[in-house]
């Protein structure tokens, strides 16, 4: 509440309060979430029904896009959520933002259970939770000028009543994202991919959020532009104290940007720990295969790497294997793996793994 008041009084001074280097500290101090994590996801499930028939719809099966996952994110932290296509990482992000309705489970933001709120009750929370999408081409309304795109969230939440101050705020947000104020007068199709992604970021920042879901936010960009956007996201985190959930399939970017990582496979988290531990000492067989599959941009290192690609295909989420979902491709799999789902256990301090075999088969 205190923070809200600060905002109301401070918003008039466009430029002053937002840029303040202490903002990060301010965010950390304020709010009831101080004792607990900023975000807590408990037993989140999202099943999509598969229907058949035209006149009378029958549910013939379910796609378990997200199948009971739990994790927490601390204030100011960047959490990575990685996995291949169909692993449910994007659905997880959408469920947290209530853009998809979870089938089961709770999403606690600053201790408030968002999953019980209706659309109207959710509105004030939407100010604090924002999203940046993958595709800079389709994530901006093609019929709106950039200035309008950025000011819209401000108007929705009636944050700044005065039109001139709104304009100043837009210019400020553009500057924050490395664009000149003149860009406000352009349409998205008059910009390059990197510039559009900056507009998407400016829009997400417009309501001064505490938490942003970055859904493959840099994946569609060329490498040289990707580096610019990664740096921008880092700067914003350091200076505004924003907490990110960084959803990506690119482990190199995740290693660079995140403090903690959860690896997902077919709707489940198979391993979760700090970035350092995950990349130095991956425990789950899937994580190991995933890391080995990524080519390193250095021919000398590549020449020395002993590499056998993973066996088999990623099963369809419609027909997920029984027991441990990874067992058909797993080099460590034993008979029991196809029967029982391995729980996510803390095998080492701060290192959670969903595998029963890994302790018995230490890494060579």
């Amino acid at each position: 509440m205190q923070r809200l008041l600060e905002y109301e009084s401070g918003c008039g001074l466009a430029g002053g309060w937002f840029m303040n280097g202490d903002t990060a500290a301010m965010v950390k101090k304020a709010g009831p979430g101080e004792d607990g994590p900023l975000l807590e996801v408990r037993g989140l499930k999202k099943y999509f029904p598969v229907t058949e028939g035209i006149i009378r719809r029958r549910i013939i099966s379910q796609v378990k896009a997200v199948d009971g996952i739990s994790f927490t994110i601390e204030t100011g932290e960047t959490m990575g959520l990685v996995g291949e296509s169909g692993c449910g990482k994007t659905t997880t992000g959408l469920c947290i933002l209530k853009l998809e309705t979870p089938t089961a489970g709770t999403v606690l933001f600053r201790g408030e259970d968002l999953s019980t709120l209706n659309t109207r009750q959710m509105v004030p929370w939407r100010r604090k939770l924002q999203v940046i999408f993958q595709d800079p081409f389709s994530s901006l309304n093609p019929r709106m000028k950039v200035g309008r795109i950025i000011v819209d969230p401000i108007r929705v939440h009636r944050l700044i009543p005065d039109n001139h101050k709104q304009e100043a705020r837009v210019a400020e947000l553009l500057g924050l994202c490395g664009l000149s104020p003149g860009m406000a007068d352009r349409y998205p199709h008059e910009m390059s991919g990197g510039q559009r992604q900056r507009v998407g970021i400016a829009r997400a920042l417009a309501t001064n959020p505490e938490f942003i879901v970055c859904d493959e936010a840099v994946s569609a960009l060329d490498v040289s532009i990707q580096a610019q956007i990664i740096n921008l996201l880092e700067d914003l985190r350091d200076q505004l104290g924003i907490t990110y959930l960084f959803i990506s399939h690119d482990l190199s970017v995740v290693r660079h940007l995140c403090q903690r990582v959860a690896v997902m496979y077919l709707g489940r988290i198979v391993e979760m720990t700090t970035t350092e531990k995950l990349f130095k000492d991956p425990l789950h067989p899937y994580t190991r295969i995933l890391l080995a599959a990524i080519p390193i941009p250095d021919p000398d290192i590549e020449a020395q790497r002993d590499f056998t690609p993973a066996q088999g295909e990623i099963p369809s989420p419609m027909a997920a294997p029984s027991g441990c979902v990874f067992h058909p491709r797993c080099p460590l799999a034993v008979a029991g793996c196809s029967r029982e789902r391995p729980p996510l256990r803390e095998l080492r301090p701060g290192h959670h793994v969903a595998c029963t075999q890994v302790e018995l088969n230490p890494i060579s």
Partner: protein, 332 residues
């Protein structure tokens, strides 16, 4: 090693309402028999257009090969008739595209598509073709080929379809395969499978491969030689080791520095290349990388540099290669 493909001063332009897009603006390179050459660059740098020019697949209009020669197995492809080119395309020259779903005909079975190619180009009979098709599927790692031949493309996963594309490309024992971002649409673990397969097969059958990609890791793992493209030109060429160890063009250096690496913990901020690629309809007379370059001098504004050898087998199109080398500490 004999030279298989020789591209000389190739220019491919597209006329659009917004001006002429010089997509490929004078590229020269060779591919030896059995060799894997990577063409790296960001979107819009002309890497795909260059490949399509070799295949004779540039739609005219709006595209047009304005100038240059493409010598393949001693013949200049640009002087061939459509019919001759078509015959060559199936037989000696094959292409694998990025999106395996759209490059297979959704209405025909896998077997039908494979056999058709074998029957028209190699004059196989129906039974011979079916047997050979099953052999090809086994070669690309697809078990129970007999069943798969009867399936349609939508029955298969993306990785499977790309395997089929490879089988199709290999069907007539070509000398050269052009793979345009063959694994970009695939997941990491599947990408690794497909690339390993392509590497093994091209080695075994002595097929040359032009691997077009934006992924520097893929290049490092699979390419013998590398051509780095920027704004329609090749700015650096060399063996993969040379280019990665001692990049001699500022753009190559910039690319290497701007990718985070999965094998290294975060040491520092990334060093991105400032600005963005130029508008290909409005290229100036100077070096097109000039506006983004840290090593820019006055000369770069006026004259466009051409490829000059900086080390044995390594060339760079830059006026200031010495400054670039010095910035790397003279070698390591």
């Amino acid at each position: 090693m004999a030279i298989l493909l020789e591209v000389t001063d190739l220019h491919t332009h597209f006329s659009t309402p917004f001006g002429t897009v010089k997509a490929v603006n004078g590229i020269t390179y060779t591919v030896n028999e059995g060799e894997t050459v990577a063409i790296v660059g960001e979107s819009g740098c002309g890497k795909s257009v260059g490949a399509l020019s070799i295949m004779g697949l540039i739609a005219d209009p709006p595209g047009k090969i304005e100038n240059g020669h493409i010598r393949f197995m001693g013949e200049d492809l640009l002087t061939l008739t459509d019919e001759q080119l078509r015959r060559l395309r199936g037989r000696r020259l094959a292409m694998i595209f990025q999106e395996p779903m759209t490059s297979l005909n959704p209405l025909l079975t896998i077997g039908r598509q494979l056999c058709e190619s074998l029957q028209t180009h190699l004059g196989y009979t129906r039974t011979e073709a079916v047997n050979r098709a099953a052999e090809l599927l086994a070669m690309v790692g697809i078990a129970d080929g007999g069943r798969r031949l009867k399936q349609y493309p939508h029955h298969l996963s993306g990785g499977m379809r790309q395997r089929i594309m490879i089988a199709l490309a290999l069907a007539c024992e070509p000398k050269l395969i052009i793979a345009d971002e063959p694994t970009t649409a695939l997941d990491v673990t599947i990408q690794a499978q497909i690339l390993e397969l392509m590497k093994a097969l091209t080695r075994r059958l002595n097929v040359a491969l032009i691997l077009i990609t934006h992924n520097l890791g893929v290049v490092a793992r699979y390419a013998d030689r590398v051509n780095v493209m920027y704004a329609g030109k090749i700015v650096e060429t060399g063996t993969a080791r040379q280019v990665y160890a001692l990049p001699s063009h500022p753009y190559t250096l910039g690319l290497m520095r701007s990718v985070p690496r999965v094998d290294q913990a975060r040491l520092q901020r990334l060093i991105p290349i400032p600005g963005q690629p130029p508008d290909l309809t409005r290229l100036g007379r100077g070096c097109s990388y000039g506006p983004r370059c840290d090593f820019k001098t006055d000369r770069c504004d006026d004259e466009s540099p051409s490829l000059v050898e900086t080390a044995a087998g390594q060339c760079s199109a830059c006026w200031n290669t010495k400054a670039v080398a010095d910035s790397l500490g003279g070698g390591s």
